[in-house]
Subunit: 189 residues, 2 copies
């Protein structure tokens, strides 16, 4: 069992949430599972992932931590690693895909290092390799989280005098979007 | 039906993913549902949410877009709004909680504007108010997304000469973490 699921259930849940069986998300399942095992059941753990790609979904699917509930933070360090830490003590365990260990599994190594095209390494072959590698491509370390550890609190809100929508008062006299940081143009009706 | 679910199924799925029935996530279900209805089924839509709180989970639960698959982007504008846009034309629909309309539902208005404590407004009362308001507290506008519209591509990767982990080559000679931007201290074994 990985994350309390059979391999078939794991594949099914990944497809349902992520849209397709991303190899990175499958490796992520082994990462989440192995860290949770090491931390033990009594720990209320928050998560930090070090990339926007794939891994956030592994945390969201296989642990209670999501972006929306604030227990998961996503850093844009672009590393295939994540940490679960005790939300009170901030002690935790970081897990990462260990390149040296991955060399023993050429399909995984070549995929991860982008040395092979999708055409030359079909997903089902790669998926098999990931299941057979399991946690053998991972390394773990005990860490103390010293940044991004605390949960963020919502501050006061205000209604923007320009767009009349609510926004965080800390942004200033009008909302960030009306200050010129919007991402859209409105199409006149 | 909201997002293809009965109210009971909606509550169950929110609890399973988010850990508890967050009022913002429930309103988010109505937002996602109403935008998807307006866009129609043929549109392959990517999403942008304007806050880190609650709403990202509504998009991830009730649409195919997740952080990890890259179809959802999260902006930190701290506004209770989201946009789904055609991933090719970038035309789409923005929906937001309309403060003026919310005034007709005092429990929702007072909760959203943080004018009432949790003690004085139990979640079950608020949840009932949200179901009875439905989409009556929302406004919609057609928009053209002019920033953050394109999906991001992963770039080249390299192995860091200090930590020996893989990272995005665009970060420079060593990874961002080894450049001093790490978030943890390693605890010696």
């Amino acid at each position: 069992m990985i994350c309390g699921r059979t391999p078939e259930e794991l594949i099914r849940d990944i497809k349902a949430f992520h849209g397709y069986v991303a190899p990175g998300l499958l490796i992520g399942a082994f990462m989440v599972d192995s860290v949770q095992l090491r931390l033990g059941k009594g720990v209320e753990a928050d998560a930090i992932v070090e990339t926007k790609h794939c891994l956030p979904d592994a945390v969201q699917l296989f642990s209670p931590c999501t972006v929306g509930n604030g227990w998961l933070k996503i850093l844009d360090l672009d590393k295939f690693a994540l940490t679960f830490h005790d939300r009170h003590s901030h002690s935790g365990i970081r897990v990462w895909l260990d390149i040296e260990k991955a060399k023993a599994f050429p399909d995984i190594y070549n995929w991860f290092m982008r040395l092979v095209s999708k055409k030359d390494l079909p997903t089902d072959v790669l998926v098999k390799a990931i299941f057979s590698a399991g946690t053998d491509i991972l390394s773990h370390a005990e860490v103390k989280v010293i940044q991004f550890a605390a949960r963020e609190k919502k501050g006061a809100i205000k209604v923007c005098s320009i767009c009349h929508e609510a926004y965080a008062a800390s942004q200033g006299e009008t909302c960030l979007a009306c200050q010129g940081n919007g991402y859209y143009q409105r199409i006149p009706a």
